[in-house]
C-alpha cells in the first residue's frame, strides 16, 4: 500500500489513505476461493491448498463451496462442452467484485484436447484475469498467479495476465551455451 501516509507514530498515531486503496488492500488479502476442479490439475490444487504449500499464507485461506460466498473462481482443469453451462452459471452466481484464474493449459486453451468434447479455454465462456501455464502447473506457478492477481487487484487492473515461466537454471545455462 504505497498510498498510506503515517502522520504520527506512537499510540495515538493515525494514517491516511484513499478509500479505494484501502478497499483493494482488504480485498486482495481476503480472497474467498471457489475451486472448480474438473480434472487432474485438481490434484495440484489440493497440493497447493493443503499444508505442504499452504495457500493460506497468501491471504486466500478459505475455500467456499457456494459461488455466492466466493470472489475468486479457480477453473482447475479441462472444461467439456457439457460442463460449459454449469461453469457459466457458477460464474454468474458469484457476487461482484469477482476474479477468475485459469489453472493449467486445459483451462487456458483446451490443452492437447482438440476435439468435439472440449471447450478451447474457459475464456471462451467467462472473462479470465490470470492464466497459469503448465500441464499441470507447479505450486510455485500457482503462487505466482495469486501474487500477480493481488497486484492487479491493488492496482485496479482488469487486463488479463499470464504467469511468466520460471525457467530451470540448467536450461538457461544450456541455452547460453548453444547460443554462444
Amino acid at each position: 500500500m504505497g498510498e498510506v501516509k503515517v502522520l504520527e507514530s506512537g499510540e495515538s498515531g493515525f494514517a491516511t489513505t484513499r478509500f479505494e486503496a484501502l478497499l483493494a488492500w482488504a480485498r486482495k488479502y481476503s480472497l474467498f476461493q471457489y475451486p472448480f476442479a474438473t480434472a487432474c490439475c485438481g490434484m495440484e490444487f489440493f497440493s497447493v491448498a493443503s499444508s505442504r504449500y499452504d495457500i493460506a499464507r497468501f491471504g486466500a485461506e478459505a475455500p467456499r463451496f457456494s459461488p455466492r460466498q466466493a470472489d475468486l473462481l479457480w477453473v482447475v482443469g479441462t472444461i467439456s462442452q457439457r460442463q460449459a453451462p454449469v461453469l457459466k452459471r457458477i460464474y454468474e452466481q458469484m457476487t461482484d467484485p469477482k476474479w477468475v484464474i485459469a489453472f493449467g493449459t486445459c483451462a487456458a486453451c483446451g490443452g492437447f484436447y482438440d476435439n468435439y468434447t472440449t471447450v478451447p479455454g474457459c475464456d471462451k465462456l467467462i472473462p479470465v484475469d490470470v492464466y497459469i501455464p503448465g500441464c499441470p502447473p507447479r505450486p510455485e506457478a500457482v503462487f505466482d498467479a495469486l501474487i500477480l492477481l493481488q497486484e492487479k487487484i491493488s492496482n485496479g487492473n482488469r487486463e488479463p495476465a499470464t504467469v511468466p515461466p520460471r525457467e530451470l537454471e540448467g536450461l538457461s545455462q544450456l541455452r547460453k551455451k548453444v547460443n554462444a
Partner: protein, 224 residues
C-alpha cells in the same frame, strides 16, 4: 480358456456362427446380426456358458473396409463369474441398419447401447429409452464415426467475442512455460518455435499476422 463356450455356440447355432478366433486367450465369435438376441440369450441362460455378467457393449467404425463387408462392428463382452470364462461376441451391420436391443437379456446393456447410439448412431430396436447419454441433444452427427472431423466442436454455450484472439491458442502462446511444454526441446534450445502439432503452428502464424496488423494488441504472450 473359454473354448467351451465357443464349442457350445458352434454346436447350437452351426452356420450362424460366421467365424471364431482365439487371440491370446480371448475367445471371439462373429455372429450373424439376425441371431444377435438369440445367441445372447443362449450364452446367458445355458448352464455350460452362464455368461451372466454383461461387461461392455461397444462398436468400431471401418468406413474403408472391403465393400462387401458392412461398415460397423458391434462388440459385446460378457463373462461368467461362476464358470470363470469370458467371451467376445461380434456382429457386423451396415450404416443405417439397426440391431435388436439386448436390454431384455442383460439390463446393464441399457446405457451401453445408448452410448453406442450416441457415438456411432447405431439404433437398437426395442430399447426402452434410446437417447444421447454423454452428448447433448443439440449435437449434430456422431463423433466416433471416422468421417466426423476430428477437431470440430459444437459449442453448447456460445463463445464470447474476443478481439485478436485465436481459437485454441492460449494467451501465453504454444509454450506452456514448462520443460515438458508442447514445443520441441532441441528447437527451444536453439531459440526456434517449431511446433509438434501442425495445427498449432498454423494458429501461431495467424496470431503473428494479427499482432502485426494491430500493433500492441494480443497482450501477454510469454517471452522467454
Amino acid at each position: 480358456m473359454s473354448q467351451r463356450v465357443i464349442e457350445r455356440l458352434q454346436a447350437q447355432f452351426g452356420e450362424r456362427i460366421v467365424q471364431t478366433s482365439n487371440f491370446r486367450g480371448d475367445d471371439m465369435a462373429l455372429i450373424n446380426p439376425d441371431s444377435w438376441v438369440e445367441v445372447a440369450t443362449f450364452v446367458k441362460t445355458d448352464a455350460e456358458c452362464a455368461l451372466t455378467h454383461f461387461t461392455d457393449l461397444t462398436a468400431v467404425d471401418y468406413p474403408e473396409r472391403e465393400p462387401e463387408l458392412p461398415r460397423f462392428d458391434v462388440i459385446l463382452c460378457a463373462r461368467s463369474l461362476e464358470k470363470r470364462q469370458r467371451v467376445i461376441l461380434k456382429t457386423r451391420i451396415a450404416d443405417g441398419q439397426s440391431l435388436p436391443t439386448l436390454t431384455k437379456v442383460w439390463a446393464g446393456a441399457d446405457w451401453a447401447e445408448r452410448e453406442v447410439f450416441d457415438m456411432f448412431g447405431i439404433k437398437f430396436e426395442g430399447h426402452p429409452d434410446l437417447r444421447r447419454i454423454l452428448l447433448y441433444e443439440e449435437f449434430v452427427g456422431f463423433p466416433l464415426r471416422k468421417d466426423y472431423p476430428i477437431d470440430r466442436t459444437q459449442p453448447l454455450v456460445p463463445y464470447r467475442e474476443l478481439p485478436g484472439q485465436v481459437t485454441k491458442l492460449a494467451p501465453f502462446g504454444q509454450d506452456e512455460g514448462q520443460p515438458w511444454g508442447r514445443i520441441e526441446w532441441h528447437n527451444r534450445l536453439e531459440g526456434g518455435d517449431r511446433q509438434v502439432s501442425p495445427a498449432i503452428a498454423v494458429q501461431v502464424g495467424q496470431k503473428r499476422a494479427l499482432s502485426e496488423t494491430s500493433a500492441g494488441e494480443g497482450g501477454a504472450e510469454a517471452e522467454e
